[in-house]
């Protein structure tokens, strides 16, 4: 009962949020100066041509009318047609989504591994110089955003000591046998590890740039949480039973210390996904974010709308997933 109620409320607020996002982006996009139609037509087109095209894209109606038409179409899965490429928005967006998802998930995995290791290490070595060093690294990692990390990585490992690729998703001359857009995933399934290596060579730096701030936040919060937990009575009790410190941290403290960190990772992961927009641009990585910036520059209204809605959907799904994981990991909720 309790769970059903909470779940229903969550779904309701998620819907309200999504509709809110749709309304705002719709209005913002309609007041963009610069006439997209004029940009599409060759010079010398008549006014009648412009009106005809406006009617075709529904731009001749009032904004509330346009919204209702658009919204009704969206409910049928029709997000409109891109003005620049004249292809359905949904197809374009879904074609780019896998690239962004692979990048985000790889970044998340890197952040969790790096942050988790630093947190455990810092707790094990608490009150030593090593912990102070980890604190300083965390402070820097958190204060500097993904955009700057990306640039720094480009200079360091793209130019001064070129070990990674600085642009694109995959080396263009390679033959790709893929049937889906999940290149990395598929290359592993097809055992084409040469391609996997090439993909990772391109992905590593953008993913690391996205991962560093999150890794620092995880390291700091998890370490703080661990340090509180290792002083709780049950951890002390475990030590008096004869368990060594490392196993007290890993077996007793970690499962409990993870919970407060987990809720934070939800919000922070959406920040990370949002960060792909500029990081993809920086590394010329062909994902959603790169497409979004082009769409804004080209005033491609239907495409902008589609991308923003997709991002919003992604963010709300991430939050939902985190809440469910939290409920699953927390025995208080699992056995309520």
């Amino acid at each position: 009962m309790q769970f059903a109620r909470v779940a229903c409320l969550r779904l309701l607020t998620t819907l309200i949020t999504l509709i809110g996002v749709a309304v705002i982006v719709f209005i913002v996009v309609r007041v963009v100066p610069g006439n997209p139609i004029a940009m599409m037509l060759p010079p010398g087109a008549t006014d009648a041509d412009i009106e005809r095209l406006k009617a075709l894209y529904g731009l001749d109606k009032s904004i509330p009318q346009q919204f209702l038409i658009w919204f009704a179409n969206v409910l049928h899965g029709d997000f409109g047609t891109s003005i620049t490429t004249r292809q359905p928005v949904l197809g374009l967006v879904l074609g780019r989504l896998p690239a962004t998802l692979e990048l985000s998930i790889m970044a998340l995995v890197m952040a969790v591994l790096l942050g988790g290791t630093l947190a455990v290490l810092g707790t094990r070595l608490r009150r030593t110089r090593a912990e102070a060093g980890i604190d300083i690294a965390n402070g820097i990692g958190m204060s500097v955003p993904d955009f700057l990390w990306g640039l720094l990585l480009i200079v360091l490992f793209g130019v001064l000591w070129p070990v990674f690729q600085i642009s694109g998703r995959v080396t263009p001359r390679l033959e790709l046998p893929f049937t889906s857009q999940f290149y990395l995933f598929e290359s592993i399934l097809r055992l084409r590890f040469d391609l996997t290596r090439d993909l990772i060579g391109h992905m590593f730096m953008p993913a690391l740039a996205l991962a560093l701030p999150l890794a620092a936040i995880i390291a700091q919060l998890l370490k703080q949480s661990l340090k509180e937990t290792v002083n709780l009575d049950y951890a002390v009790l475990a030590r008096t039973k004869g368990y060594p410190e490392t196993s007290v941290i890993l077996a007793e403290a970690l499962p409990n210390a993870v919970l407060p960190t987990l809720t934070l990772i939800g919000v922070q992961f959406t920040f990370l996904i949002g960060g792909t927009v500029i990081v993809e641009r920086l590394f010329s990585y062909e994902g959603l974010g790169n497409m979004a910036i082009d769409a804004v520059i080209n005033r491609d209204l239907p495409l902008i709308q589609g991308i923003v809605i997709l991002f919003a959907l992604l963010f709300t799904l991430v939050n939902l997933a985190v809440d469910m994981t939290y409920a699953f990991l927390n025995p208080r909720l699992r056995h309520a």
């Binding site: 402070g139 700057l148 804004v296």
Partner: protein, 283 residues
Amino acid sequence: MLDGRGAVKRRAGARLWLSGLWLALVVLAAVFAPLVSPQDPLAQDLMLGRLPPFWMPDHEPGFWLGTDSLGRDVLTRMIYGARVALVVALSAGVATCLIGTALGLVAGFYRGWADRIIGRLVDIWMAFPPVLFAILLIAVLGTGLSSVVIAIVVIDWTRFCRVVRAETLNQSQMDYVHSARVAGFTRLRTLVAEILPNVLPVIVALLTLEMGIAVIVEAILSFVNLSVSTDAPTWGGMIAEGRTSIYQAWWVLAFPLAALFLTVLSFAQFGEGLRDRFDPVLR
């Protein structure tokens, strides 16, 4: 109490002074830009294109950190770029802080429908990818300094709002707030005289953090060519240009990047340092 208070204090002091020193340097450079710059920031000379910094062969005296592809002096443009960065940091930082803090205090202290509406708005805002939102807003507002500031405020008020709301809510449940009620304080007085001093350290730390973020957002917008005019010297614009010629002239990217890096880092550390230094509870 049992942990190394002394060591923590020393470290906090060091970061306050180091970050303060760098920020002071940036402020001085911005204020006295025409006096301290070796060259004219807009002067182009294709004959002097892509000169390397002073320690490398083929450098030209007077162009300490080299030149870009159009022969403009990197150091000069960095110094002038500090002006844009600081103006954006101060105006966007303060405006974001005022709006976000006010909404956060109201939501966290008065609760009820105000909290619900503000909370819903925050949720909607959080569902936008911030960089895309900023770019979209600039497309609407047109490029220029004031558009950049407005875009930052519109996007980032939620950061203050969320944190201040949570902290206010937290403080509202403390007994000293009940005690103020027992003493017959009005709600407003309780909020301003009792709760605000306890939320203030968080606000100060967030404010300097936000200033750093504002600098970054400006740089990002410059990077996608949507900030101030393309000719005007900004760190982001220089970085964008450096990115295109990175293999030929890495210094065009590297030096403004270093300035940006240090400035953003310093803003964040300065706030934390201030808090450690001046908060009576931590002190």
